[in-house]
């Protein structure tokens, strides 16, 4: 897998192969980055279509469009597709495009593995989505796949589990690539503490992936053997314990939520200084805060299981550690605000998304803190309040950051400027509709509406209708994003090397679009 690096270095001038095979056989970090990003965009719309089914069914009380079983398949699949198909691949795509350019390397360290880790994904998702057409339908037990319910899945179960295995292998390979690239391929003079924050957050994310994904693989393998090979990890009749699954799952699951947000922190830390025209406030505290969040994320998992009947000591431990995470997170938020303080700010689309990220992600952090209060969580657990919480951190957090990154770097990648007016329209449509969509879900949860149900009591009708209207508006607005991206790829005003006024960082020293191999000569790092 490493020989290609050398082979490419001998022919630095050669460009991409032609035709479809270019994309199948490519080992180039930009090609693979593009593939990842396009894949993520596709899955964003697939998962989004499922969300539209969910919101349509919840538009009114009563059952109108779909069977309850199908509704449950939609909630399960929507989560799996968005997490493993949209958000994570989008971040890996950004890493592929940006990391070599940001650290002054010609390519990723392990180009062939890079190709492999991408091409596993289409197969994994073809397998996952195909379960919707099997007898018995797709998985309907929730993305957390708790036994014993999950073990009652029909023929879909082994397909889902193998799909999760493939996604896991793909992310672990992607993570290995990032770590090796960052540790071994930096240009001379690019010391660790000079690295852009996007690279730092990705390095730490990669370590989280290495530690967390294999544990998920283990947990789902235990489900598989429980169902087909007579083991009893989670089967109480055989001496197992279904709560054990929850412990193992969330040992993966909580680090996983940080896997989906740390790269977003990195993106925002690149964008805000650029448009505030000031260096990032507190660079080293940002690095340490990221590292401490990553460490803490491994000792808070049972805040997802406060209601399983843990002893008081356990409840307290997990409550305090969870609240502790808010400290480094707060450090970051204050640093972003301090970076903007007295900056000469302009509000192009990437900056709009980044500022919205800071504001709306913080709302999600606050609802997280409310959920972290154990006695309170007994009321909120498994209600729409939790749904509102994680959509604030994931949609207005992770997804907004990904969109900010797309607008920020699209001119670099394509050599064309996107249509700024349309970009801003897209931002405002998204920012308003996403709040109409998710903010009422806080009220629904506080009033007691359970999550993952296709029908509900009439007192929840008004806010659900408003939420659904917001959902349809948000979904439709994303078609505008698609249009803008396609339009920018196909043409537009030429972008110079710098793209954004006085942008700092090695990627802005390369022409737009950059050459096929980024830095064949190691650049000078000031």
């Amino acid at each position: 897998m490493t020989t290609t690096t050398a082979a490419h270095a001998e022919h630095p001038e050669h460009g991409p192969a032609r035709g479809l095979m270019r994309w199948v056989t490519t080992t180039n970090h930009k090609d693979i980055g593009t593939l990842y990003l396009l894949f993520a965009l596709t899955m964003f719309f697939v998962g989004g279509a499922m969300a539209m089914v969910i919101r349509a069914e919840l538009f009114q009380p009563g059952l109108q469009f779909v069977e309850p079983q199908f509704f449950n398949q939609m909630t399960t699949m929507h989560a799996l597709v968005m997490i493993f198909g949209a958000v994570m691949p989008a971040f890996v795509g950004l890493a592929n495009w940006q990391i070599p350019m940001m650290i002054g390397a010609p390519d990723m360290a392990l180009p062939r593995m890079n190709n492999w880790s991408f091409w596993l994904l289409p197969f994994a998702f073809a397998m996952l989505l195909s379960t919707l057409f099997l007898t018995g339908g797709g998985p309907a037990g929730g993305w957390t796949m708790y036994p014993p319910l999950m073990l009652q899945t029909g023929e879909a179960l082994p397909f889902v589990i193998f799909a999760v295995h493939l996604m896991g292998i793909s992310s672990v390979m992607g993570a290995i690539n990032v770590i090796v690239t960052v540790l071994n391929m930096r240009a001379p003079g690019m010391s660790l503490m000079k690295m852009p924050l996007f690279v730092w957050t990705w390095l730490i994310t990669a370590f989280l992936l290495i530690a967390a994904m294999p544990v998920l693989a283990g947990a789902v393998t235990m489900l598989l053997t429980d169902r087909y090979f007579g083991t009893a990890f989670f089967n109480a009749a055989g001496g197992g314990d279904p709560v054990m699954y929850q412990h193992i799952f969330w040992f993966f699951g909580h680090p996983e939520v940080y896997i989906m947000i740390l790269p977003a922190f990195g993106i925002v830390s690149q964008i805000i200084p650029t448009f505030a025209r000031k260096p990032l406030f507190g660079y080293s505290s940002m690095v340490y805060a990221t590292a401490s969040i990553a460490f803490l994320s491994f000792i808070v998992w049972a805040h997802h299981m406060f209601t399983v009947g843990m002893p008081l000591a356990g409840e307290l431990f997990f409550m305090y550690t969870t609240m502790l995470i808010a400290v480094p997170t707060g450090v970051k938020v204050f640093n972003w605000v301090a970076t903007m303080w007295r900056g000469s700010m302009t509000f192009e689309t990437p900056m709009l998304f980044a500022v919205a990220f800071v504001f709306l992600f913080t709302i999600g952090g606050f609802s997280g803190l409310m959920l972290a209060i154990t006695p309170v969580d007994f009321q909120y657990h498994d209600t729409y309040f939790v749904v509102a919480h994680f959509h604030y951190v994931l949609v207005t957090g992770a997804v907004f950051a990904i969109m900010a990154a797309a607008y920020f770097w699209l001119p670099k990648w394509t050599g064309h400027r996107y249509d700024e007016r349309l970009g801003r329209i897209h931002f405002w449509l998204s920012a308003v509709s996403v709040n109409v969509l998710f903010f009422p879900q806080h009220f629904l949860g506080l009033a007691g509406m359970p999550r993952r149900i296709p029908d509900y009591a009439v007192q929840f009708a008004d806010w659900n209708m408003i939420s659904s209207l917001g959902g349809f508006a948000f979904g439709t607005s994303q078609l505008l994003f698609l249009y803008i991206v396609v339009k920018t790829i196909r043409g537009g005003a030429r972008a110079g090397a710098e793209v954004w006024e006085e942008a700092h960082g090695l990627e802005w020293t390369l022409p737009s679009p950059p050459p096929y191999h980024s830095f064949t000569e190691a650049p000078e790092v000031r």
């Binding site: 290995i176 290495i210 530690a211 283990g218 089967n235 009749a237 709560v243 412990h247 009947g309 002893p311």
Partner: protein, 180 residues
């Protein structure tokens, strides 16, 4: 790029891959680790799967604890399974006898296993069963109904704030009885 960098890349790759494989193993290791942890700390509401030694406790005549008996059948199988009495007021230290009723509604000989759980979890280590149908698998002939005994003592060391202990059994079908 030099061969040296390639060797360094390969070395690092192998090391990280080894960590990933180790973490897969760690996921499995969590299973016994949790069990050990629960045994050491007495958390999780698991009563021992074996008969407790018949110890003589000093009976506390001034204290009464309510024990609630619950029964669930796993996965909606059509079994009849219920406690003979729903609750007992007991004195810690004294031994009590009660029983559960189970009936096999099917036309097959079936083996079942009842799995106990005690709430609050911390009470589990003070709930001693000297005899219990849950210690063994139970064979039921087609259509058979029977009473299954349970003998238990509550340890007087049960923390004073615990006034009610619930003992819940879930009945699992293990399949048709095999002749042995």
């Amino acid at each position: 790029m030099t061969g040296e960098r390639e060797r360094a890349n390969r070395r690092l790759t192998l090391r990280i891959a080894a960590v990933a494989v180790a973490m897969f193993g760690f996921g499995y290791a969590l299973v016994p680790l949790y069990d050990v942890f629960c045994q050491v700390t007495g958390l999780n509401g698991k009563t021992g799967g074996r008969a407790a030694a018949t110890e003589a406790y000093a009976v506390d005549p001034d204290r009464l604890v309510t024990v609630e008996f619950l029964a669930t059948v796993n996965g909606g199988e059509p079994w009849t399974f219920r406690p003979a009495v729903a609750r007992l007021r007991v004195q810690p230290g004294r031994s009590y006898v009660t029983h559960y009723l189970a009936a096999n509604p099917t036309g097959r000989a079936v083996t079942v296993q009842a799995v106990p759980s005690v709430a609050p979890g911390l009470a589990a280590q003070h709930f001693h069963k000297t005899e219990c149908f849950c210690f063994h698998r139970q064979d039921f002939a087609a259509g058979e109904a029977r009473e299954m005994p349970l003998v238990f003592t509550i340890d007087p060391a049960l923390p004073p704030e615990v006034g009610t202990v619930s003992l819940a059994y879930t009945l699992f079908e293990l399949g048709e009885t095999r002749a042995n």
